[in-house]
């Protein structure tokens, strides 16, 4: 269930952005638009009379806009932002005179060229040439004017060879090119643009934008533009409004509105979390971009190799573990082994050794390699592995049928290699258990695993007993179970029955899971308190968290998983950062812009700035 959309006013700076010296072009004053949703279905007399008898005619009212006011001045490029169904297009229709508002007044000062849904009025049976005249006529151009500009339209739309072909044979991109060319051939005083720039290919979008820029800069055209893309609004506009479900949420400069929209628009969460995040967006403390770093490879093999490369610069690794990159739990198991034996993890595909891994292997030149061969792996992986490392090095292949099998084997192996002694003795007293999937708290635990904490995966019921045997043989007292499912619940019960202390963190929401994980770590592992590095992993990027975990482990860093579309998660992350006991001197974002965009980085950076004081 999605939560109630927040529609309260966040900030209204319309008085600040208003310049009394500049004439007003569009004045929307307290406009309310009601649609009678019942009346839309009443298309027959019978229905009408039934509804009239039931007195339902005016009751099912849908309020598309609620008391919207807006002042657009000459030369403004005014952006309208909002999620789908927020009333943006209704507002544009009212401004362009297509719709009459239920209440309120719209005053327009100048002629309007509406670019609302390009191609309205095209007849697909007619040729492009005929359509240019027809559409021009509908837009109110006289014939001589169209004659005069016919060539310019055709050239802009790049359709000259197809002029006498019926429009139905055109691609939709070509159709929108023609429509845009016709609509912008005049120099209007007010241009109204409704998402038109989202049609067509990239080249065409650029061309349209250029044309609009030209109208703005050379002719001083006032523009009202609707877009989903806050980037576009920030790039094109000087002022903006954000409306949500017909209510004004924010009015201000395009920059501040689009930033707030990017951080909050369409995201779920409580008003409190939203306030908190908005405070960071609206604030102008420096976002500490100089201590931020983004780790993003072309794919996760690449990211993993990049992190290993980074670590190898300061520390030499003679032991390498090759794990299957498609399986999170296999990677987690490898991480645990690496932490135990002081090695490093590289990833492989099932049927070939990725290039990034090969390069890294050659750079390290390891003496010992453990290859955790995934079920049905191609032999080629092993042969290219041997070719990539020095002749004298040893390669031990560990075949496994299931991930339970692997984690059990690794736990024995870890004991063998280190002779029962572990680098960090305290971390041997507890183990982390997951199912096939890793919960959202696993990012927080990943550095711990990378320091050698035993890890077990449960995927089959009959293996619960065996895994528990291993756990008790290793002298482990506490078990943290991450994730949910009946297998894990059964395991939790059995483990508790065996006298182990069990903590089960079910995969709920990023914010709650982070909280629970941090509480556990603070209580039992004493981890993260001395850290200076902050690692942020996106909900969709657990795999990168596992790759970066050794780096975070080496500087005792704090790793958090953040769902940037969830304001609760962002808000909680900001809280954790603010209350962090030691100053943070590095922020590392895992994943590309898709995971953390500039606004997310700005919010986190400012939170760190506030923490550091």
């Amino acid at each position: 269930m999605s939560q109630q959309v927040i529609t309260t006013l966040l900030s209204d700076k319309s008085a600040e952005i208003y310049d009394p010296a500049v004439p007003t072009m569009i004045d929307v004053s307290h406009v309310t638009m009601d649609f009678n949703s019942a009346s839309q279905q009443l298309n027959s007399l019978k229905e009408y009379f039934i509804a009239a008898a039931k007195r339902e005619l005016m009751f099912k009212r849908f309020r598309a806009l609620d008391d919207i006011s807006l002042t657009v001045q000459k030369g403004d490029v005014f952006g309208i932002l909002g999620t789908n169904g927020s009333g943006k297009s209704t507002l544009l229709k009212i401004v362009s005179g297509v719709l009459d508002p239920t209440e309120g007044i719209v005053a327009i000062n100048g002629n309007i060229a509406p670019l609302i849904e390009l191609g309205a009025g095209f007849d697909y049976e007619l040729t492009a040439r005929e359509n240019i005249y027809l559409n021009g006529a509908l837009l109110g151009y006289p014939k001589p004017f169209i004659d005069e500009h016919f060539d310019a339209i055709v050239d802009f739309a790049e359709i000259r060879p197809f002029l006498d072909m019926p429009l139905k044979n055109y691609s939709s991109g070509m159709v929108s090119r023609i429509a845009f060319a016709i609509a912008t051939i005049i120099v209007p005083e007010i241009l109204i643009v409704d998402e038109v720039l989202s049609v067509g290919d990239f080249m065409f979008q650029q061309k349209c934008e250029k044309r609009i820029q030209k109208l703005i800069h050379e002719h001083g055209t006032t523009v009202l533009i609707v877009s989903h893309s806050s980037d576009q609004i920030e790039r094109l506009c000087n002022k903006a409004i954000w409306i949500e479900k017909g209510h004004v949420r924010m009015v201000g400069t395009a920059r501040e509105v689009s930033q707030a929209y990017q951080a909050l628009g369409g995201h779920e969460g409580s008003p409190e979390a939203e306030r908190k995040i908005f405070e960071y967006v609206a604030n102008d403390t420096p976002p500490l971009l100089d201590i931020s770093e983004t780790v993003a490879g072309a794919d996760h093999y690449d990211t993993n190799a990049a992190v290993v490369g980074k670590m190898q610069a300061t520390e030499h690794f003679s032991k390498v573990i090759i794990a299957w990159g498609e399986s999170l739990s296999a990677q987690m198991a490898a991480l645990s082994l690496a932490g135990n034996i002081g090695g490093i993890v590289l990833l492989t595909d099932r049927d070939h050794l990725p290039h990034a891994t090969l390069t890294m292997l050659a750079a390290i030149g390891p003496q010992q390699v453990w290859y955790l061969a995934p079920p049905n792996a191609d032999n080629q992986v092993l042969s290219s592995l041997r070719a990539a490392i020095p002749r004298s090095s040893s390669v031990e292949t560990i075949d496994y049928e299931s991930i339970d099998d692997l984690t059990a084997k690794i736990s024995i192996l870890a004991g063998k290699v280190t002779g029962g002694l572990t680098p960090q003795e305290c971390e041997r007293t507890f183990a982390v258990v997951t199912g096939e999937a890793l919960g959202s708290a696993s990012a927080t635990f990943a550095p711990l695993i990378a320091r050698g904490c035993p890890y077990f995966a449960i995927t089959k019921e009959e293996l619960i007993g065996r895994t528990l045997e291993h756990i008790s043989e290793s002298g482990i007292e506490r078990v943290v179970i991450l994730g949910q499912g009946s297998l894990l619940t059964a395991f939790a019960e059995k483990a508790a029955g065996d006298g182990l202390q069990v903590t089960h963190l079910e995969d709920k929401r990023c914010d709650e899971d982070n909280d629970a994980a941090l509480r556990w770590l603070a209580e039992f592992a004493d981890a993260g308190n001395k850290s200076a590095g902050l690692y942020l992993c996106a909900r969709e990027g657990v795999v990168d968290a596992l790759s970066v975990a050794p780096l975070a482990a080496s500087d005792n860093g704090l790793m958090l998983m953040v769902d940037h579309n969830d304001m609760e998660s962002m808000g909680r992350a900001v809280d954790i950062i603010e209350q962090y006991p030691t100053p943070i001197d590095r922020i590392t974002y895992l994943g590309s812009d898709v995971c953390f965009n500039n606004i997310d980085k700005m919010i986190i950076g400012r939170a760190v700035g506030r923490r550091n004081g």
Partner: protein
């Protein structure tokens, strides 16, 4: 106002012209005979009706085929105009919802398009006149006046129907029945003298009866319609137009919510 856009009548007139030309192009696109159908169609219809009615009813009407084609084409003009005007608003939904445009141009355009069609079918009438050797008279100069009456009348009817059809789609269905009843109630293929007395009283209030008779007067019987007859036709046209126009004007702002 920028010099490139125009407002008011001039703009609307160009839009109407463009739409009529669209309709005209689309009507005959990809037919081998093209516009010739506008002439052929009434001729063929006339042949069928003549064959049917002169076999079954044996009406004693001089130049029966010509009598038929005059009544049929004029009636078709009035009804097709009202009919296509009725659908014009509903069919222009996408335009009305997206472009600020004077909505009345849609019914006007449809009526004018039917008028253009009618004028092409006049060729068929001329052909029949030549074939039957009916001498033209000076009364034919009154034809434009008649067409003005019929056009204004149909426009009024079309405006009312188009507005009502937006709110109640039932109108579309009711209208097809009314149209058929009207066709039988108007002496198109039978002579007036077979009508009973009370029916003749009714015909006095049937605008189509007056228009069709007017047409036959000037084209077939060589009568010059008197001032009284002209005033009756004018009154029908003006009153119908006024009623239709008022209905349309009162409701047009709500169209967008219902189309």
């Amino acid at each position: 106002m920028s010099e490139h856009t125009q407002t008011g009548l001039k703009r609307d007139w160009f839009t109407i012209k463009s739409l009529v030309s669209r309709d005209f192009k689309l009507k005959y696109r990809r037919s081998v005979l093209g516009v010739a159908w506008s002439v052929l169609n009434p001729l063929l219809m006339m042949c069928v009706l003549t064959a049917v009615f002169s076999t079954f009813f044996r009406f004693q009407i001089e130049y029966y085929p010509f009598y038929l084609i005059l009544g049929n084409t004029l009636f078709a003009l009035a009804m097709d105009a009202a009919d296509s005007a009725m659908y014009s608003i509903i069919d222009s939904e996408s335009l009305i919802k997206k472009i600020r445009v004077n909505k009345i141009i849609f019914p006007i355009e449809k009526v004018l398009f039917q008028l253009v069609n009618f004028i092409t079918s006049l060729i068929a009438i001329v052909i029949v006149m030549i074939f039957l050797q009916i001498p033209p008279t000076f009364n034919l100069v009154l034809l434009p006046l008649l067409l003005a009456y019929v056009t204004i009348f149909s426009l009024g009817l079309g405006l009312a129907l188009s507005a009502l059809a937006v709110f109640f789609r039932d109108v579309l269905h009711i209208w097809s029945v009314v149209r058929m009843a009207w066709m039988y109630a108007t002496p198109l293929f039978y002579p007036t003298d077979i009508l009973p007395e009370w029916m003749m009283t009714f015909e006095a209030f049937n605008p189509l009866y007056h228009f069709v008779t007017y047409f036959r007067d000037i084209a077939l019987w060589g009568n010059t319609p008197g001032l009284g007859e002209n005033l009756i036709c004018l009154a029908f046209a003006v009153v119908t137009f006024a009623v239709g126009f008022i209905i349309f004007r009162k409701t047009q702002n709500k169209f967008i919510l219902y189309v």
